[in-house]
Symmetry: C2
Subunit: 200 residues, 2 copies
Amino acid sequence: MSTPTGRRERKKAATRQKIADTALRLFLERGYDAVGIREVAAEADVAVTTLFSHFASKEALVFEQDEDFEQRLTRAVTGRAPQGPLIPALRREIHALVRHCTADGAAPIWHMIDASPALREYEESMRLRHAESLAAAIAADPGLSRSPTACRAIARFAIDAYALAREAADPQAAVDEIFRMIEAAWEATRPSGTRGAAGA
Amino acid sequence: MSTPTGRRERKKAATRQKIADTALRLFLERGYDAVGIREVAAEADVAVTTLFSHFASKEALVFEQDEDFEQRLTRAVTGRAPQGPLIPALRREIHALVRHCTADGAAPIWHMIDASPALREYEESMRLRHAESLAAAIAADPGLSRSPTACRAIARFAIDAYALAREAADPQAAVDEIFRMIEAAWEATRPSGTRGAAGA
DNA sequence: ACCGTAACACTAACGGTTAGCGTTTTGAAA
DNA sequence: TTTCAAAACGCTAACCGTTAGTGTTACGGT
């Protein structure tokens, strides 16, 4: 199940990768809006319909690598030390994600994203999906008995922290500042009679 | 300046209203995705280009009435009792907005919005703009000296409360629950040496 | 009465996306 | 090995939202 697979899937992955690489190169060279789908397909030497069988939309070409974003968030919750505190674990992960996307190498890509309304909109709705997954992971943790609404709210707040920190002058400081707020918000959802212990 | 003007502006407003009414009627009758722009224009007896001179996009046809959303939020901040507490004022306004859009009459429209990914995405990016306006209003209040990051975060949290409450089983209770979290988050941003007084 | 302008219309196109249909490749069953 | 069904890929042709270009008309101010 892990790697019994052969030529077909390798070819498919290669085609997918070639499309993504070509697209990103063209977008960075000449601007996202200035490059059409037909052009990307031609340059990658595939048909337009093939391109769309690998990527659901033009925007998805740009956010190809960010599919692990969701997994990293949920694993920060499910894979933390047993009974460990939730918020610091989330804070560390958001820290890492912000650092990752404000690194020097990624700068041109994020500049391109910020320059295109279509890409910004797409990213935002991606983040919303991620927030829902995160909320589900939090709600599923037996150590944290909070209402579904509280879980969804905290998940959204964490995503907000990520989005706001990326735009802040000092992203790392912004994460810390917003997470002090989130910590307080989370404490406020603690079922009564549970205060004082180490925050689970 | 208020209403000295005559026929032209009345005609323009009438055309705009006719387009919006026709569009909403067709969308509700047959579904948002099943009705094309050309069809709306034909039914409203205007040219497609005319339609787009009144509305920036197809989605904007649906959210025509919601332009005061932004104003209501910022006024909840700027127009509250002098030195009055921020969070309860916000909470009251969000309560009212949630009540307004979960009212019986509005149900079909929101059902249609929830059924269309394009509309959901559009609404979300609308809300983001609203959050930025709200953050600006909060940051501009001289009685609340908080960092820009804290203001943006609280504004986002408030918008999150609205979005989550709309989907919750008991919207009003969800607003209250999330605002208890927001209140705690806001308290955590208080500059040190200011605790204990009535929350401004 | 006259002019500038704003509303409106028409045509034609562009770019993203998809349906329909045919071809080739490939993994596995027979 | 042969055979078969699925999957990947391709092509054509279109649909849909949106816009540029180019007028034409109706109106308000002078």
